[in-house]
Structures are given as structure tokens and as C-alpha cells.
Amino acid sequence: MNRVFFPLIALASAALMAISPWFVAKRAFGGRGVLLAPFGVVNPSNARGPWPELGWLGTMFALWAVLALVSVLVYTLTRGQKRARWLYVLGGLGLLLFGLEAYLFYQAVAEINTEALARGVSPRRLPLRRYSLSFGLYVQLFYALFLLVTARLNQPKGQRILVRYRGVVVPAVSMVLAMVVGGAIVWLLRPIPGVREPLSTYAYLVAKLDLVTYTFQLLFGPVLSLSGLFQSALIATPLIFTGLSVAFGFKAGLFNIGAPGQLIMGAIFAMLVGVYLPGPRFFVLPLAIAAAALGGAIWGAIPGWLKARFGAHEVINTIMMNYIALSVMLLLLSKNEWSFFGQKVYLPFKFPGYEPRSYEIRPEARIPMLHKMLGFDGAGPGELSLALPLALVLMLVVYYIFGRRLELGRRVVYALGAAVGGYVLGGFLPGIPATMSPDLASVRLNGAFVIALFAVAFYNFYMWRTKYGYELRAVGLAPKAAEYAGVKISSKLVLTMAIAGAFAGLAATHYVLGGGIDEYRLKQSIPYNVGFDGIAVALMGQNTPIGVTLAAFLFGVLLTGGLQLNLQLGISRELVLVLESLIVLFIAAGGFLPRYFTDPLLAAEALREEEA
């Protein structure tokens, strides 16, 4: 931040406010909308009224321009504490303005709707059903927040928070940059929906910005509804596993691009146990889950061993293992009969029919749906069982409150014991009557989500609470020093890759045992590419357990929103993949931020300079 950037940002914000839609009064399916911009209403698809005529938009824009100008003046004329105080005031003013505008807009919309209701229009056919804030208001919100952040940074020792929270700053900046580039792609490649006749330049700019805004509104849309959140959690489940897999490798200085292959092998192993091993549930289900982990672990350990023994780089080897795993799956699932040098060999794994898929997993080996685990049986009224929630609460209480003084091993054992006790106790208690909506019941979120949360806990525990994790991180930070201190590097490599592979393999529990997509089978169409998404998840989450979980959830939201994007704007879901890869690229480049955001040594130095 300096004297060039600050005025530039002010200018850019003001310019964007001028040419962007501030509100969308009316939105039709497919993205057509009536856009309220500061210099007029833009209506590319000639939709018919009524919509609120907001006469105050021009005045508000003038106010914002003044605010931006004053902030630039403040920034150039004052410094230090004084500048901070002024910027706090201006930022606060901005937030107030933002709130006022939003309030006025919703008020105006409600007025039109109540008036229509009074005329006897049925509530399902109100004139304004889908309306929202739009880009102009987002810019205002961001500008106000930007002023507040700048104010904070200008306080004495203010820069320290940036450096201290660089683990959040770098992914966040990268995300914003990726969204800018993604928005540019949409701007270039998609026409304005519903446009009838050539637009004036101003209207064109407003409509294009609205298109970009609407794209991201759709992408982030799932956070607004409960079923959207559940759907996002569903998609996030395998991402948590593969994200942990990649993060685990990163911590030891290894780059595991092999998560897709490890996932496939986990799926094959899980399928073999789940389909062919008879027995009671308490025996088969854990074994099937363990088999998934084992399959992934074997597939991960091989490149680890090749690196330890022969120094072969794990990156290319894991990529090759992906292709080989795919071939193994094809061999098992695409035909029942193969010929080896003229010799016919029969494989029993493919289910008869056109589609390459396995037989169904036995009912005993299936992971139940989450709503079943909570005591519901499909949509409709039921009782929310207290077993799972109580188990979770008791476990956390024992671990974090009663376990503080205990030695770690006991702490974990007691916490798990409390979980089991809570589960049993909750099972005996009467449930809470509640109703499951069909939306929620149709989401195939299953027990694999719980396994994923346990995997996150295990990652945290192993990496930061055990000797093995300590050694592993030491190898990642300084292999030579770790070796000198007595860590056996080669076996560490193999073990690390095996555990990373096991994480990826466990993702298969979601697809194969949990029926995460539609069937309880291994299908050739299993979306193994989530293994690559794991790279973005791990980087975005900065290899921390909480970060990985949040990042997986973020991408779950984006991928869920991508479905709407495809339906409404005809933009391929691949846009999410593009965003993901851009995020990876920008995080690799440290968000194009100064070096002390990425380099711990420089960060320490920057902190020390601040102290002085």
C-alpha cells in the first residue's frame, strides 16, 4: 500500500460504481434482468415493469465519489494515527451508506409487492420475486472494508496483522485474483442474456458487469439455503479426503499428485470387500472402510518407496500411477473375458450390462445416509435422534475441558470412550420430533462425511501431537537437519506417502460404500479427478486441518453452484475448475504479494522491523 495504489484503488472503485448495476430489480431464469444503475435503468431484454424507480441513485453516487475523494485527500495529507482515525470514520460512513441503500432498495421492492398484494395479485405471482443487490453495492462494501483495513494498518504496528495472518491473506488475495480472471473469461465468452437490440455503451458495460456478477452469485448461491449447504457438504466430503492427502504430502515436502489413482485403488479394494465378503455389519463395514484406506496406502507407498530407494521423483511417478490405476479399473470392470496370448481368462467383477460397473455392495457393508444416522427415514416427520450429536458433544467436552491435564494418549482414549457412551445414551433418550424436508432427504450426504471429519481430527492429531508428525514436518522443512537429528528419511518417505494414499483411498468410501452419487457400486465413471481438486484444497487451506476443511467446503459450494450456472447461463461447470487452477497458480506465486507474506524468515524480519 502506498501513495500510488491508494488513489488508484479509490479511482477504480468510483469508476466501477459508475458503470455497474447497483441493484437487480427483477431476475428471470436464464439471467435476464432489470438492472438499476446510477445513471439509468438498463433493461436489455425489454422486460415489462413495474420496478422501483430509485431517484436517489445519482445522488448516492455523488456521495460515494466525494467519499473516495476525501479518502484520497486524507491519505495524502495525513499520516500515522491521524490518518488511521480519519480512515476509520470514512470507512464507517461507507458502511452506513451501504446499509442505507440496501434498506431503501428492499423497502421500495416491498412497497411495490404490497401494493400488488392489495390489488389482489396472488402471493405466488408477485411482480418482483427475484431481486438482489448487485456489483455496485459489493464494490461499495469492499471499498468501505478496504478503508477500515487500511486504517487498521496505519495504526502503530498495524502492518503486523497482515504478516501474522499471512496464512489467510495469501489464499484470500489469490481467490480474489482468480475471480477477477474468471470474471474476465465470462465477460469475453458469454453474450448478455436476453439482449434484443444493440445496447448503448453504458448499458453494455452495466449488462456485462451484471452477467459476471450473476455468475458468481450463482456459484456462491448454495450457501443461502440449507439443502444447498448439505449438497455442498456432500461434494466437499471427497475433497476433504483428497485435500488431506495432498496436504499430508506437502508437510513432508512431497507433492502427491497421485490422489486420483489412490482413490481408484481404494475404491477397488473397498468394492472387493464390500461385494464379496459375507458377514455381519460390525465386521464387514469397518473392514471395507479399512480396505479402502489400504488400497490407497499401497498405491501411495509404491512411489514413496521408489523415491526412497531409487531417488525417482514422486511427481511423475504418482502421475503414472494414476494412469495405471485407471487401467486396473478398466481391466476389472470393462469386460468379463480377456485373452492373454490366446488364453481366455474370466474375471467375475463386471455386472452384466452395457455400463462398466461392479456388482452392488452388500447391504451390511454400506455406509448409511446421514439422515438415517440422525434417526430419519427419508422425507417427512420423524424424530431427530440424539445419539450422534450427543456423542460429538461429549467427545469434544471431554477432549477439550476434562482432558486438559491428562497425558495425550489417555485424553484421546477418554474422549473416544465418551463418544461411545454418548452414542449409547443418546440412543436410549427420546428423540426430538422434527420434519425432514424432501430437499434435504434427497441429498445423498452419508456417513463418509463423519469419517472425513475424523480424518481431519486424525491429521491434526498425528501432525501436531505426535513424535511421528514432528519428525515428518522436520523432514519437510529441512531434510538434512532432520536426518542429522536421527530421522530415518527413507522409511519416513514411504510411511508419509502411504498415509497420504490412505487418505485419498478413504475418499472411495464416499462413492462406493456410501453411495455418494447414486448407486452402491464401483462404477467406471467414479469422479477420480477430485484427486486433482485436492491440490487446490490443500494449497487454499495452507495444509492446516481447519483450512483444508473450509477450503473443501468452499469448493463444494462452488461446484454445487456450478450446476445452477450450467442450467441458467449455459456456462460450463469447468469454470470452477478454471477458478481452482488459477487459485493454485496464484497461491504458488504468493498472491503476487511482497515476499514477506510467503517467506517465514522474511516475515519474522518484517515483524522485527515493526517492533523497532
Binding site: 473469461i185 465468452l189 458469454r190 507433492f255 499428485i257 521408489l306 530407494r309 531409487f310 531417488g311 525417482a312 521423483h313 511427481v315 511423475i316 511417478n317 502421475i319 503414472m320 500411477m321 494412469y323 495405471i324 487401467s327 486396473v328 478398466l330 481391466l331 470393462s334 469386460k335 480377456w338 485373452s339 492373454f340 496370448f341 490366446g342 479427478n529 486433482f532 491440490i535 487446490a536 494449497l539 449455459g570 456456462i571 460450463s572 469447468e574 469454470l575 470452477v576 475448475l577 478454471v578 481452482e580 487452477s581 488459477l582 493454485v584 497458480l585 497461491i587 504458488a588 506465486a589 504468493g590 503476487f592
Partner: protein, 329 residues
Amino acid sequence: MDWISSAFWVALIAGALRQTTPLLFTALGGMFNERAGIVNIALEGIINFGALAAAVTVQQLEAPYLAQDPNVRIWWIPWAGVLAAILAGTLTAWIHAVVSIRYRADQIVSGTAINMLSFGLPSIVLIFLYQNATASKEVVHRVQSIGQYLSSVPGARDFFSTPVGRVLDQSPLVYLAFILVPVAYFALFKTPWGLRLRSVGEHPEAADSLGINVFLMRYHGVLLSGVLGGLAGAYLSIDQINQFIRLMAAGRGFIALAALIFGKWHPFGILGATLLFGFAEAFRIQVEGAGVLPSPILQAFPYVLTMLVLAGFIGRARPPAAIGKPYEK
């Protein structure tokens, strides 16, 4: 065994040359950047973007001509496609270069990001142009084989129908790939430029102290890999077949990296290594229908071979000393 016949061998050798070509282009490109000390996992993405640019450019250029006369053939259109592929490859490589040289990013992460981009972005472009997420429209103007280019020369038609002629009846790009091997050797080992390029990959501090611009030389290396990777992409999309298909590179970028290591970062070694992979692939295609081995096993063969090569079961080599390390002044 009727499949071991003259026709079989002709098809095998000709197929091997065709399969070698994209690997050879890519591996030579990879050689330049690895010699300059930059790892380029992004080769896969460079091939994909090159292939996309070639197919789309040719399709867009030929469309107005074909609308007037469906039988028209214009000689320069495929070459414009090749040029576009080179530009696209170079641009992709430039992103990798900026991020990993200027911003000192982890080169493998940066390369992976570009590969992921090349899995996603083409679909958006294809939907925009052709309302189809997986493949471009088929183009009419492919790069043709020299047999077709020389068909008006007297005697040429007879020559190119003999077994030797059928092996030699390849696209000019195939010839270019093989000619580039001695050219690369000369450039890398017999010119001052090549010496500088190698020195920044071995010991950038020493090179810098002698007044060599380390960053510039590294840009040269990476951008050259973009040029050559783009050529490989053009070869795949408008020469071998006549359209771009999503994920067209199909691991060739990675196999080229393995060939590069197997070939000990030396042009002639790379020639040998890529020929090995090319023959393996051509052999697979030839015996696929014969029921010798299940096709998934045959498909996995080049990948297993790559892993064996990397493990050093078949020869070991020493990489450039400063490879993968960002240079800081």
C-alpha cells in the same frame, strides 16, 4: 503368425515415427528449460493449449472459404494453425516462466496449476465456439504428408507406395522433429548461447558473476519449451487427426519428461528414449486388436515403462544441479 509380415513392419515403423514426434518435440522443449534450471511439469498443459489453438485457428480461418466453396483447399491455413499453436504454447510457457522465475513460485505447483487450467479452460472455449464441451469441429485443412505435397512430382506417387516410401510418407512436422535433434545439439553444446543456458542451470551464482543474465536465460529456456510443446500440440490436433479433443495430450507431457530424464538431458539420448516410447505405443496400437494381451494392460505399458525408467532400472543420470531452485539475486 500372419501379423508378422511386411505390412505389419511398415505400419509399425511408420506408426512409431508418428508416435515419437510429439514426444520428441516436447522432450526437446523440456530439455531446454531443465537445462536452464526450471522444472516444467506444465508441458502437458502446453501441448493441450497448443492443440486447442491450432484446431480452433484452422477452423475459424477455413470457415469463410469453405462457406463459399466446400472443396477449396488453401495451402497456408494449416501453417497458420501451427503458428497459432506455437504462440499459444509460448504464452502458456510464459505464464509458467513469470510465476516461477519472477515470483519464485514452487515450479511443480505452478506447472500443475497450468495443467489443471488446460483441463478446464478448453471446455469453456469449446462450448463458446461449438456448443460442445469435449471436442472441436473437425477441420478440413490438416497438415498433409509430404507424399501428398509432392504428388505432382513425377514418380513420387510410385515411390510413396513402396514399403520404404510408405514409411517415409510422413508429415513435414515429423521431419522437423527429427531435424531439430542435431539442431538442438548444436545450439546447446556448440554455441555461446547454449553454454550460458547450461551454466544458469548448473550454477546460476557463478553464471551471474560472469555477467550472464540468469533470469533472461531462464526465460529463453522456458519459452523455447513453449514453442516446441506448442508444435507437439499442433501435430496432435491438425496433423495426426483433424480436431481438438479434451485432454488431448493424454500424459504425453509427463512421458516426455521421463524420456528427458532417461535421455540424460541430451538431444541424442532424448531421441533414443522417445523412439523407445514411440515404438512401445505403436506396437500397442498394432497388436491391440490381435488379442495378445488385454488392452488395459497394453495401455498401462508406457506408464509402467516410464516408472521403470525413472527408478533408474535402465540407466541413471545426473540432472542439472540447480534444477527446481528459484534464483535469488
